[in-house]
């Protein structure tokens, strides 16, 4: 898992380290250069002083070093650090040699030809030497490069030390600031973590910084959708439990009155009612299940089904029950009509409608099913010969668990709700209308026609 805090900290540390390294490098180089110039200048100054002095050819070598003459020159108390000076006349006779000369095995600086600054190896040690010609005097002045380097480094270090010391402080500071600024995120996280598992209340977003707000808003939107889904689920459960109470009460009472039957015929009649009650409960549970399924499976419509075979299957399923009551089932089918959706959905839709039609049609009546097409849509009509519905009930009967007043059919109040959900998922619609020619209802389902091309492309996309 990526961590914003770690990422920020590491990248900022890297940036600080890079900037630190570059500034240290530049500072070091600059400090060395300036020190070098400073020391070169000092050597020139010493030469100036020496040039102004007169040296007798016989004069003894002075005890005091020129470094001692000018404190300015003396950059170290260590004797090794002292300048080595020698002054010669035109013939090359040594007029003066500083005490430091004695460290050299050759006793004195060798006479050098070229004037100006140069680096020379003497006795296996590097020296910076300045040679100047002043009148008849040739002045040579040298200083150990080691000493120079030491001085340079000392100065450089003095410049760099604060930076080097401050870098870790800056690093720690960055870590602290990042941790502090990301605290609202942690606060949101712990707010969510501290909730009970099924708490779907929205997060308070007002106090959140602008950068966290969009995330929290999205979480809230998700919570909102979840809440609606949970609410729907709970309502379904409540409705279902309520819907089960009535048939269960009937079952209980039907069982209770079995004992009271006085003769075998009465007992048989009451037993038959109990069985009808059991059928009613199992039918309700089946319908609850198919409603729950229809609401949960709204997958992509990649399948298409031919309408006719589905219709024939449904009619075959209802033929026996209809025939037992003398009801004729008549179907005006229409070959080669394909609609989206799998066969299970279609048979569920058509089955529920046909079931209703047969249920409400009186014995000896007729139920007609007509299939047709209109522009881009298939149209299925189921005509029954029941008593129809008052206009204000035509929409309400699609509500879950709703049953029209005076409906004695022992229906669950779920069939039309299921049909409505399924048809909507297939992009179609279902409406009820009263017949004009006689009492009865026409249930009309329109479903989008499945074009071969669209089906093929959908299948391709799905694969």
């Amino acid at each position: 898992m990526s961590s914003m805090r770690k990422g920020l900290t590491l990248w900022l540390w890297a940036a600080v380290a890079l900037v630190g390294a570059v500034s240290v490098a530049i500072g070091y180089w600059q400090a060395r250069k300036e020190t070098q110039e400073q020391l070169d200048y000092q050597m020139q100054q010493v030469v100036h002083i020496l040039a102004a002095q007169t040296f007798a050819p016989s004069a003894a070598v002075p005890k005091s070093t020129p470094a001692a003459v000018s404190p300015f020159v003396r950059i170290s108390h260590d004797e090794d650090d002292d300048l080595i000076v020698s002054v010669r006349d035109q013939q090359g006779n040594l007029l003066y040699a500083s005490r430091a000369n004695r460290q050299l095995s050759g006793s004195v600086l060798p006479a050098l030809d070229s004037l100006g600054f140069q680096n020379v190896m003497l006795d296996g040690q590097a020296y910076r030497v300045f040679v100047a010609q002043s009148g008849d005097k040739r002045i040579e002045i040298a200083q150990s490069l080691d000493v120079i380097r030491e001085a340079e480094e000392g100065v450089a270090l003095a410049t760099l030390l604060p930076i080097l010391l401050l870098l870790p402080v800056l690093g720690v500071g960055i870590g602290f600031v990042i941790r502090r600024q990301l605290r609202p995120l942690n606060a949101v996280a712990s707010l969510i973590a501290s909730r009970p598992p099924l708490c779907l209340e929205l997060l308070p977003v007002d106090a959140l910084p602008r950068e966290v707000r969009p995330l929290a808003d999205e979480i809230n939107r998700l919570l909102g959708r979840l809440k609606a889904a949970v609410h729907r689920e709970q309502r379904f459960l409540t409705d279902a439990a309520h819907a089960l109470r009535t048939p269960l009460t009937a079952l209980q009472l039907q069982a209770d009155v079995l004992d009271g039957a006085r003769d075998p015929a009465e007992k048989a009649a009451r037993l038959a009612q109990l069985r009808a009650g059991i059928r009613r409960v199992s039918r309700l549970s089946e319908q609850l299940l198919s409603l729950a399924r229809s609401e949960s499976t709204a997958g992509p419509l990649t399948v298409s089904t031919e309408l006719d075979p589905a219709l024939e299957e449904v009619i075959a399923l209802h033929a026996t029950a209809a025939a037992a009551r003398g009801i004729t089932l008549q179907a005006d089918t229409h070959s080669n009509v394909r609609v989206y959706g799998n066969a299970r959905r279609l048979t569920l839709i058509l089955g529920n409608l046909l079931d209703n039609a047969v249920r409400y049609t009186p014995d000896g009546g007729q139920v007609r099913v007509r299939v047709g097409t209109e522009e881009n849509a298939a149209r299925v009509e189921v005509w029954d010969e029941g008593c129809g519905l008052p206009p204000e009930e035509l929409d309400r009967v699609f509500e879950r668990f709703y049953r029209a007043p005076g409906d004695d059919s022992n229906g669950s109040g779920l069939g039309l709700a299921t049909v409505d959900t399924l048809v909507r998922q297939l992009g179609g619609r279902v409406v009820l209308a009263n017949r004009v020619d006689r009492p009865g209802l026409i249930a009309t389902v329109t479903l989008p026609l499945a074009s071969e091309l669209a089906v093929a492309s959908a299948q391709y996309a799905a694969s």
Partner: protein
């Protein structure tokens, strides 16, 4: 004992009517709110008690109940409903229900609650009704006289119970017929006389007294 049953579900209604008839109630069953109100407003129906479902088409049970109470009807009402929330129970009872039974329930409990409501209505401490040496037990459907058990038919039981509910009061022929028959039963013209005759034969001629031109009552002091 005439009972008004208001229930829209036909399976529940059918079984309740059967079960209550087994208990010797005379049951009138209606399935919608307005029909229930019409039955309750019928002054000659002579109901002893009503079983009222909450969820009814066209007018719900609670509004039927409020309406009948507003009419001044004090008939004991047992409400049956699938609503089990506390608020529902409270508004049902406050709306004028005398008792409240949540679906699903057992027939035995419903019967016991009806007996309890009737007992309360009559101000009796026990289910048994006593008059002189006669004891009528609505729970076991038995009649005892002294120490002996008397076998009675359901109709005889119902008639005797009507008389024992109001000891000393004279009940007219039509009042007794109302207790004996529901809407669906064909009333036989001499059924009341016939039943009284057979009761006198079983319990002794002096038990039921004829007040000429008015009706019948239990004789003697309770």
């Amino acid at each position: 004992m005439r009972l008004l049953l208001v229930e829209d579900d036909h399976m529940i209604g059918e079984s309740l009517a059967k079960g209550l008839r087994d208990e010797h109630y005379v049951v009138d069953w209606v399935r919608e709110g307005p029909a229930a109100l019409a039955a309750l407003r019928d002054r000659y129906a002579g109901y002893s008690i009503a079983v009222l479902d909450w969820n009814l088409p066209r007018q719900d049970g609670l509004s039927v109940l409020r309406q009948m109470r507003a009419d001044g009807n004090t008939l004991p009402v047992l409400m049956i409903t699938a609503r089990d929330e506390l608020a529902d129970r409270i508004s049902g009872l406050d709306g004028g229900a005398d008792d409240y039974l949540v679906k699903p329930f057992e027939l035995g409990e419903l019967k016991a609650r009806l007996r309890s409501l009737l007992r309360r209505r009559d101000g009796r401490a026990r289910s048994e009704m006593v008059h002189a040496d006669l004891v009528l037990d609505p729970v076991t459907h038995t009649v005892r006289q002294g120490s002996g058990l008397v076998a009675v038919t359901p109709r005889e039981f119902t008639l005797l119970r009507a008389l024992m509910e109001h000891p000393g009061a004279v009940l007219s022929r039509s009042q007794l017929e109302e207790r004996l028959y529901g809407w669906d039963d064909g009333v036989q013209s001499n059924a009341v006389e016939f039943t009284i005759h057979s009761l006198r034969r079983k319990l002794g001629p002096a038990v039921i007294e004829n007040v000429r031109g008015v009706g019948w009552r239990l004789s003697g002091t309770p």
